[in-house]
Symmetry: C2
Subunit: 151 residues, 2 copies
Amino acid sequence: LVDGRQSAHALAVQRGVGRLMAGFGFSVVTELVLASGRRADVTALGPKGEIWIVEIKSSVEDFRTDRKWPDYRDYCDRLFFATHTQVPLDIFPEEAGLILADSFGAEVMREAPDHRLSSAARKAVTLRFAHAAARRFHGLIDPAARDGLAI
Amino acid sequence: LVDGRQSAHALAVQRGVGRLMAGFGFSVVTELVLASGRRADVTALGPKGEIWIVEIKSSVEDFRTDRKWPDYRDYCDRLFFATHTQVPLDIFPEEAGLILADSFGAEVMREAPDHRLSSAARKAVTLRFAHAAARRFHGLIDPAARDGLAI
């Protein structure tokens, strides 16, 4: 049994993707809970409010068992998969972008189609992103404040 | 010389204000740089996207020397001052809210007038808030990512 979220490979890919996004001027929140209840592995917010979601797949199994990935498109302008060199890249669909990562960095192998969010959807995802990021930071700075925070 | 941002009193008030806001369901970012270039001591984001700014004044001097405080109203729906018990509360203007805080918590002594932001202004402040929070957290989790981050 592979837990895609917690495996060492997944964490390495997450770190590399975070650095890539930072290099693009995007800021990131991991494991953002969306309105659907699903968690997005990496949500990236751009300088102009662009929202990209990056789903990390650390094994062939991990990708094959996820039949609901198209749903993520309702919450972002661009959707990417991210993986590492031990996973064959041809399993990933053309309808999404593709990022190859290790723990030091990452590279975009295929650009993601652009499907712009509605203004209302963008506002909702941005608000979730902002709250999640601020609460996590606040929880580190003042753990006691967590009592009042739904992290 | 009193540095309002760095004094022990100011830090205690900041912590108490953060807990108060968390209790209200708001998340907070400290020292947010606004479009004007000024820093807001505490910016709080509400469940529905409300934006409140809390300016911390840790001495009479600290308040008297700030002649530009009304400018903060351009960046929030409500503006509060926050202080501690060793500062007389009657120096603060009625046109802003007032919070009395210590390092354990805080209390609203006077509600703040509501001056709703325009949609464009709200979007801009929310985006700054989201980027600042996410970048600070990311910078703690992966300091090397900071190279690509304008914190």
